[in-house]
Symmetry: C2
Subunit: 200 residues, 2 copies
DNA sequence: GTTAGCATGTAAGGAGTTACATGATTTT
DNA sequence: AAAATCATGTAACTCCTTACATGCTAAC
């Protein structure tokens, strides 16, 4: 399955919110954004874009970069979100449930967290944390069941894996606390002059 | 692509080295071993086993668990490695090159490190480390190129990702040092009574 | 007795990578 | 002038997951 079409779609919609972009650029941004390892290929991106065009989530427009030379150069195709696309993006972002906290899905959603309100953010963060916690519990349980002594390297890999997940849980906890704090400080008129959710 | 058939093959061969096993058990062990997230499905495992049977890397034999009731119960199919399978396993394990240090491949190889000699181990560990370092460099470079200020959450995700990779690099460095130390202590007649590479 | 877990498969379909094909533009 | 990178695609192929199908065995 790997990335589940919907994920690319969400990412594209999110990126196009920053402004119109063409395919090549989208690919670069996407790879930088979720490119921990695998890179997104053209054979994956362009068909996805076509599909989104058919679904009217995005529109294309031809742009000639330099106004000096009018015809000869192949125009680049620039994509922009339609209104339907914006609505779809909002719908996907406010989705709370298993699909929101699966590995790849979570990352994308997180990257665009600024576009949702805190309530959703908290729910997704907590859902993700619970998910990981369950993973840890399951592994600990299964490990306890295994009588046989583990191989040195297999054991090391195991430990490292658990470590990584535990670390991610801590990261999430910090983020959850930060959200909660920002909520309480926003309620009381304290330091920050503009308590809008959009501020960097 | 996800897991690249060869990876499952290597994992199966490695596990069967511990002794004969049937499919269900293999799946469980596999999921515990590389189950950080995705689980291996039957639809993936059984076809792979069939393919390995055709390639004569493994053999199947029917086993009735309890000797009391002879016929009626469906016998479980137990797989074991053939000689050709052992050779293939050794060939795959001593492969040094890009395929050895890709994410999934690396994990499997590492889990069975006890079956190779230190020279290979070191080369794979170092290859992996270099790979990750390159990843970090590429990202840092691309990040530096990006003029525009990054979104708060996108930035946080970025940082967390870099952190994770850096941590893995440290982990690898520790392992590399450990290998080197064990090499030098094995050379001088110091503490450990049995300086064989196989000890736990 | 019935639920949960053991055990073995197959078929359909989705998803995306690789490789191919093509050409413009910029940098060296 | 060559090399690199920008830029847009398509087709074949591989791989895997999901869902289906079936039946045994142990525990509650």
């Amino acid at each position: 399955m790997a990335r589940r079409a919907e994920t690319i779609e969400l990412a594209v919609l999110g990126l196009l919110h920053e402004g119109p972009m063409h395919g090549y650029e989208l690919r670069k941004r996407l790879n930088l954004m979720l490119g921990w390892g695998r890179v997104l290929s053209y054979g994956s991106l362009y068909p996805a874009l076509k599909k989104m065009l058919r679904g009217a989530l995005i529109e294309e427009s031809l742009s000639t970069r330099t106004p000096g030379t009018p015809v000869s150069k192949r125009p680049r195709i620039t994509y922009q979100v339609t209104e339907a696309g914006t609505r779809e993006f909002e719908r996907l972002m406010s989705e709370v449930g298993p699909t929101a906290w699966e590995d790849d899905n979570f990352d994308i959603r997180f990257a665009f967290f600024s576009s949702t309100d805190m309530e959703i953010r908290l729910r997704v963060l907590e859902g993700r944390r619970t998910r990981l916690q369950e993973r840890l519990d399951r592994i600990q349980r299964e490990l306890a069941m295994t009588q046989q002594e583990v191989d040195r390297y297999a054991g090391e890999l195991q430990r490292h894996g658990v470590d990584r997940v535990e670390r991610e849980v801590m990261w999430l906890s910090d983020l959850i606390n930060a959200e909660r704090n920002s909520a309480s400080t926003a309620a009381s008129p304290s330091i920050s002059p503009t308590p809008t959710p959009e501020q960097a």
